[in-house]
């Protein structure tokens, strides 16, 4: 797999959903688009830097770059920078665009066309916006977004699951 293609396509789909959200919410002024563009690209840069640090510090073996991580982190940094400029209105668009992107990928690979329902997506959105407000004790950030979808992807039927003792993650 081509890792750069994974990232490029992931952020392209995020951008498409973001554009739809901005149109839907009538947030189409030249100034908004300029600021969204700047925030979108600087957030991709931050997410890239974070990815490199993440792989080094966790000593990760990269089979391939993981699109749930790259999109989750990009969305978080994007929502953070848009929130600084505009508060929740436009940050919320970014969050919903990100969740739609991740949910679309989830639906492709989860069994039986499964994905997160609207109520759960709304809850995740609310938790992210709480974190930005800031009401961190009621919030989740970049890794929380990732693990919501990673966990959903990893769900197995209890019939297929063989319980095993958990390994300690301590060094």
């Amino acid at each position: 797999m081509d890792n750069d293609k994974i990232v490029t396509a992931g952020q392209k789909r995020l951008f498409e959903f973001l554009d739809e959200e901005l149109v839907k919410n009538d947030l189409q002024s030249k100034q908004i688009k300029e600021n969204v563009a700047r925030c979108f690209h600087s957030s991709l840069q931050k997410a890239t830097n974070h990815h490199i640090q993440h792989v080094r510090e966790l000593k990760l073996t990269e089979g391939s770059r993981e699109v749930y991580k790259t999109v989750s982190w990009h969305v978080w940094f994007l929502a953070q920078s848009l929130h600084e400029l505009y508060g929740c209105a436009i940050a919320g668009c970014a969050v919903r665009a990100g969740l739609s992107t991740l949910n679309e990928f989830l639906r492709i690979e989860a069994p039986n066309d499964a994905c997160l329902d609207q109520a759960t997506l709304r809850l995740v959105e609310t938790l992210i916006l709480n974190e930005l407000e800031p009401m961190e004790d009621h919030g989740i950030a970049k890794n929380g977004i990732y693990i919501a979808f990673k966990a959903a992807k990893a769900m197995k039927s209890a019939k297929d699951f063989t319980p095993q003792p958990l390994q300690s993650s301590n060094h």
Partner: protein
């Protein structure tokens, strides 16, 4: 730090490649900042099904 793109569009494949190249170069010589808890054998991966969809997104 690279100059941030100002255009209202997603990044291109070449721009993404550049970001990773620069980030790798930037952090290569830095000390590891921290040693987080991590389970053995942790890997990154995107599934074949999602990868196929990502290629379609890139082509359109």
């Amino acid at each position: 730090m690279t100059e941030v793109i100002q255009e209202y569009r997603p990044a291109t494949l070449d721009e993404v490649k550049d970001l990773y190249r620069q980030a790798k170069a930037r952090f290569e010589k830095e000390e590891i900042r921290q040693h987080p808890h991590v389970p053995a054998g942790l890997t990154n991966s995107t599934s074949e099904e999602v990868y196929a969809e990502l290629l379609k997104i890139l082509e359109r």
